[in-house]
Every structure is written in C-alpha cells, then in structure tokens.
C-alpha cells in the first residue's frame, strides 16, 4: 500500500517509500450496497483440519476420525475457527490483499450452520450490506459485508457478517 498522507501524495502524486508498494486495486468506493460476488474454491483436507485443531482447538471431533463418528457431529469436522480462517483466506485472495483495506472491525453475527468435512470444496458469496464514509476520518469508509460459505453441493456451512474499514480512493478536496 502506498502512503496516503498529505505530504507524500498531495495532488495524487504517488511516491514509493523505499519498499515495494503496490497501488491497491480496490478502494471503499468499489463496493456497492446490494452487490453480490462469488469466489473461492478451498479444498478442505483431513490433514489441515487435524493440524489446525491440534494447535488451536484440540477436541476429539476435530482430531480423531473414529471417535468423531460416534459423536454428535457424526464424523471428523473442521474447527469452526478454522472454517472462519479458511473463509478469510478466500476473502484475502479475492479482494482484500489487493485492496486498501485497513482491517476488520468485528463480526456482528457468525453462524456455523453445518460441519465442514474433509474433501469438501468451499466457496464464498459476499453481499455488501452497508457502506458509509467514516464521520471522524473522511478519508476512509466502513463496509459491512455478509460472507456465506458453502460446499460444492451448495450446503451452507458458515454465515458471517461484520464491518471492515477501507481507504477511500478520493478524499474530500481531492480533484477527481
């Protein structure tokens, strides 16, 4: 990301800051309320489910195939936090890394609708629910997205809704 302070990009001049800075492809203005985007194809593997769970969520249903069969979830499944992380990765690859994103502000509501199993392929549908400029810092906006992750059969696995902050392409006073 290139620096957006007044001193280094006045009149839209972009000055490299010594390290490679890539012009973001997406700014706050590029996301419109109601717009829907579909993306991602995350192949969930047994090995990754177990690896993530071993470190962060070591429960039998995420670690032990045999024991998981006899549990309430009926078989090995990914930690819900792992599912969130996989969705985050798809978001990063699709638009966040290429954006002027300034970080997530939180998650209002997240629902793990069904267990995520080995060898499923997850994809994401993004809907932009809200978009507004920040009142205190008008060089940036808030975008509230709902991301719904489903498997290859269209079975919904995770619905997650929350706001993030992103720089605006033009801040007030700047020429078009």
């Amino acid at each position: 990301m290139w620096c957006r302070t007044a001193t280094c990009c006045i009149f839209g001049l972009r000055i490299e800051q010594g390290i490679k800075m890539v012009e973001p492809k997406y700014y706050w203005e590029d996301f419109k309320i109601g717009e829907v985007a579909k993306f991602g194809a995350y192949h969930v593997t047994k090995e990754e489910i177990i690896e993530f769970a071993s470190t962060y969520d070591p429960q039998t249903i995420h670690l032990d195939e045999e024991a998981a069969k006899h549990s309430i979830v009926g078989g090995l499944c990914a930690s819900g936090w792992h599912t969130c992380a996989m969705v985050m990765r798809m978001m990063c690859d699709e638009y966040l890394v290429a954006s002027a994103g300034m970080g997530g502000l939180g998650i209002n509501d997240a629902r793990w609708r069904a267990p995520v199993r080995p060898d499923e392929i997850l994809s994401v549908e993004r809907v932009c629910l809200e978009s507004r400029l920040s009142k205190s810092r008008p060089d940036r906006g808030i975008l509230n997205f709902r991301h719904t992750a489903s498997n290859q059969r269209g079975e919904v696995k995770l619905i997650i809704e929350g706001p993030m902050m992103m720089l605006a392409r033009r801040f007030p006073g700047q020429e078009a």
Binding site: A67, H70, A85, M88, G106, A110
Partner: protein
C-alpha cells in the same frame, strides 16, 4: 468447562491464563489464512496506520480457543473426567451454533502478553435435542497494559445431567 450444563455457574469470570504472543507463529498463521500486508510484512506494516505487525483477528480468537481448551483439560483432570470417554456418563461438549458481537478493540502485537477470560452468561435448553443445552459466554482478552483486545459472545453445546 467439562461440567454438566446444570453445574456451570453463571457470572463467574474464569481466568484462562496469560500467553506470550509469538511473532513468528502470528505471522505464520497470517501467511496461511490472512496474508494482508500488516499481518505478514514487517516493513509494510511499519508504514501502515498500525505502525507494525499486528495479529490477524482470527489468530487472536484462535488463541482464545487454545487457552479455553487448555483450561478445559485442566478441569477434566481436576474432576477426574476422562474427556470424551464413556459418553452418557461424563459431561459432553458439542459443537457451537456460532458467536455474536465479536470485536477487536485494540491490536495484538508480537511480544504482547495476553490474558484470556470467559464468563458464562446464559444457559438455554435445546428443545430440538433432548439431553443438550447451550451455554453462552462473554469471552475477553486483555494485553499487558490492561487494554481489551478481543471480546465476543461464544456459544457451545453442553450435555445436561442424565435424569
């Protein structure tokens, strides 16, 4: 919390321990799941509005879960529960339907010492699944300066005491 739903006390803030946040692990997590520049690239992060590497929020919440699981294991030992063995005889923990109101009010940085907490706040019986209930918990994390870095309302299924 390897306890029957009936035995879980509401309003009791549980200290899940203080953890040193390792910068290498933090960045390795972000390279895999959240490769935004301020999570993975120290130079770019230094020039960002964060002024340095900060943890992916998903890393912070995964670390909360790790602290919770560690606590749960310790509890299981304390109460001589053989975790997840002989279902029906021991308290069982099931999956979570989701979480609510998650926020990251302050960034987590490499070297921070984060204290994780959980406060059971609500119990609901599940009509659809006899023998199970849902426990809601206000989960928080603070850094070494006492600043809140994570807050969310977690939910989990817990078995009820057999009649």
């Amino acid at each position: 919390m390897a306890q029957w739903l009936e035995d879980i006390e509401l309003g009791n803030r549980i200290d899940l321990g203080a953890w040193l946040m390792d910068g290498e692990e933090m960045m390795a997590f972000a390279r895999k799941y959240d490769p935004q520049s301020f999570h993975v690239d120290p130079e770019a992060a230094a020039k960002s509005h964060f002024g340095g590497i900060i943890a992916s929020g998903w890393y912070t919440v995964a670390c909360w879960m790790r602290a919770m699981m560690k606590h749960r294991d310790a509890q299981a030992e304390k109460y001589h529960y053989a975790a997840d063995k002989s279902p029906g005889q021991r308290p069982q923990i099931g999956p979570s339907p989701g979480f609510l109101n998650l926020s990251w009010p302050n960034p987590v940085r490499p070297g921070d010492v984060i204290t994780f907490t959980a406060t059971a706040s609500e119990k609901l019986l599940m009509k659809s699944r006899p023998g199970w209930g849902i426990i809601r918990s206000l989960n928080e994390a603070y850094n070494q300066k006492g600043e809140l870095v994570l807050r969310h309302t977690g939910q989990g299924m817990v078995s009820t005491r057999p009649k």
